[in-house]
Amino acid sequence: MPKKDVDLKLVAQNVGHSSRATCGACHFNGGGGDAIKHADMSRQLLTPDRNCDIHMGGYDFACAECHKTRNHKIAGKSSSVPVAEGVVSCEKCHSDTPHYSGGLLDHHLNDHSRTVACNVCHAPVFAKCKPTKTWWDWSKAGDKDREVKKDKYGQPDYNWKKGEFKWEESGVPDYTWYAGYMDRVLMGDKVDLEADVITLTDPVGSINDPESKITAFKIMKGIQAIDAEHAHVLVPQLFSADKDNTTAYWKNLDWDKAFQAGMKAVDLPYSGDVTWKETWMYWRINHEVMPADMALSCAQCHESLKGDQTCNRCHQDNREVDFKAIAQKGTDFSYMKSMGRDVDHLIEKTDYINFKALGYKGDPILHGGRFKKLPMEYKTQAD
């Protein structure tokens, strides 16, 4: 129910379209506060800088202009929750051939669009306007006497209710193959107690699958409680409005009681035998797309283009085209640094997306990639 002092008549008389402020009231504050949960959404998006988000900062897009609604069902496919009532994609507006500057690169970039998700190049860092939480160790919670230190962004490293944190600003995403589906651990699902890491949301994709694209994610990492006997994730009761409550963790600081109450509420067994395990959640980077001229350059991923030899490995050209300039022009991290972003370590970086980790032998320009190997070129013939 709304707060008592809200003039509901005034509210009702002023109804209007939804906006970044109305949607953001919840979605910018996920995980308990501004920018904590989403790597690419924060209250900065209420009045964003153009360089932070070209759609919202440059063109003043409201959420629902992309997240179209039908019968109040809002399109959008979250990484973190299973529900989807429609899908939003860059391609819906920008098409499968989104590069049309008329320059020599268009052809190559449009080829890349079949293997690389837009935001790999167009949002090369996440949390670029505000630090986001990337590590959350619940097992350390409960120490009211522990001194809270601030990191270089001014963010706290500890909260007795929640445990230990790490924050990242202008973070480099993790890149993995993704074709639109997620493996998820849902409540009550068995997890592998022997695994080093339990991945709660895990993108499905492969370098060998023509539909999969290299996609940018923030991984929310942390440590949380698992039932060692039943091998499922434990759900604690954290808070209670009831004054006499004796089970909520934030009232009583007793995990055992909190798990008993929590698991009873979700109707799952609790053995009392708790193990703390590292868990990961993949969060796709969807928002905070930067202006086109701040996309990654070819050379920022392809190390082979960093030297004197660039496009002329394959192309001869006598039109006085500056190949080097074409291959190396892109996001200027020194510019971002001058704007106060923490990107010092990214200046001059190459192999940005880590080809080997993605399953390549190395830079695909030298070692070969998917363009020729997979049946992508021949799909229409096969149909």
């Binding site: 009702a12 900062g57 299973p82 989807a84 920008h94 959350w136 849902l186």
Partner: protein, 239 residues
């Protein structure tokens, strides 16, 4: 921070209001397009009656290309249209994107001014202004020109929206008079008042994930046909 707040509160006094509003945030590209949309250019009375092919040849011969597209983006929000009626929000028009897709400027820039000194291409609103101009009965108005051009092409190409809300948002009518509520109503009274007109929307809302906190999970492996997963039921997290 506190000082800022105080300045803005005091800013309610008209004299100081300017200080606060002057610093108001603006979306740069959108604001530029909005300003441009307000312009009304002189009416082109005489045009060159070319066929589309000769127009295209002319443009090709002149070497007009994507590089000549100076305005990437327009907001279609002309006062010429709004003067007669104003039911819809402006339309976003990605000019360069369309130029690249269509790859034939003459598809939209189908005539040119007869004046030889005029540019090869001109704004829609230079030739199409108010409708039913008795001096130019052959000339359709700007609103018709936009709709005919956009919708016909979208239909032909089977691409792009052809319905009203595909391009426009509808203006929300002023609810000051429409909402009949006593002072200090309770939330239930307000909901009832909304539902008096919006009962279908109320029914719709009750079936959404935002209301139920669960719903279909077509992209979750092993649960693609399920409809019960969500934050309110089975979703887990580590934060």
């Amino acid at each position: 921070m506190m000082i800022k707040k105080i300045v803005c509160l005091v800013g309610l006094i008209p004299l100081l209001a300017g200080v606060c509003t002057a610093r108001a945030w603006q979306a740069t590209d959108q604001e530029r397009a909005r300003e441009r949309a307000k312009e009304v250019v002189p009416f082109v009375k005489e045009y060159q009656d070319d066929c589309q092919i000769s127009r295209r040849i002319c443009l090709m011969d002149a070497g007009v290309s994507l590089d000549d597209v100076k305005e990437v983006y327009f907001l279609l929000d002309s006062p010429i249209i709004k003067e007669r009626e104003d039911h819809y929000e402006p339309v976003r028009f990605a000019h360069k994107r369309h130029a690249a897709l269509v790859n034939d400027c003459s598809k939209c820039h189908h005539f040119r001014p007869r004046d030889e000194n005029a540019l090869e291409t001109t704004r829609c609103s230079a030739c199409h202004q108010d409708s039913f101009n008795p001096d130019h009965p052959e000339r359709i108005g700007l609103k018709a020109a936009y709709h005919q051009q956009c919708m016909e092409c979208h239909q032909q190409e089977a691409k792009g929206p052809v319905d009203c809300t595909g391009c426009h948002l509808k203006h929300v009518p002023d609810h000051k008079e429409l909402v009949k509520l006593p002072d200090n109503p309770d939330p239930i009274q307000v909901t009832k008042a909304c539902l008096e007109c919006h009962d279908t929307q109320g029914e719709d809302m009750l079936k959404t994930a935002h209301w139920l906190w669960r719903g279909p999970s077509p992209y979750t492996t092993g649960h693609r046909k399920d409809i019960l997963h969500g934050k309110g039921t089975t979703a887990l997290n580590n934060f």
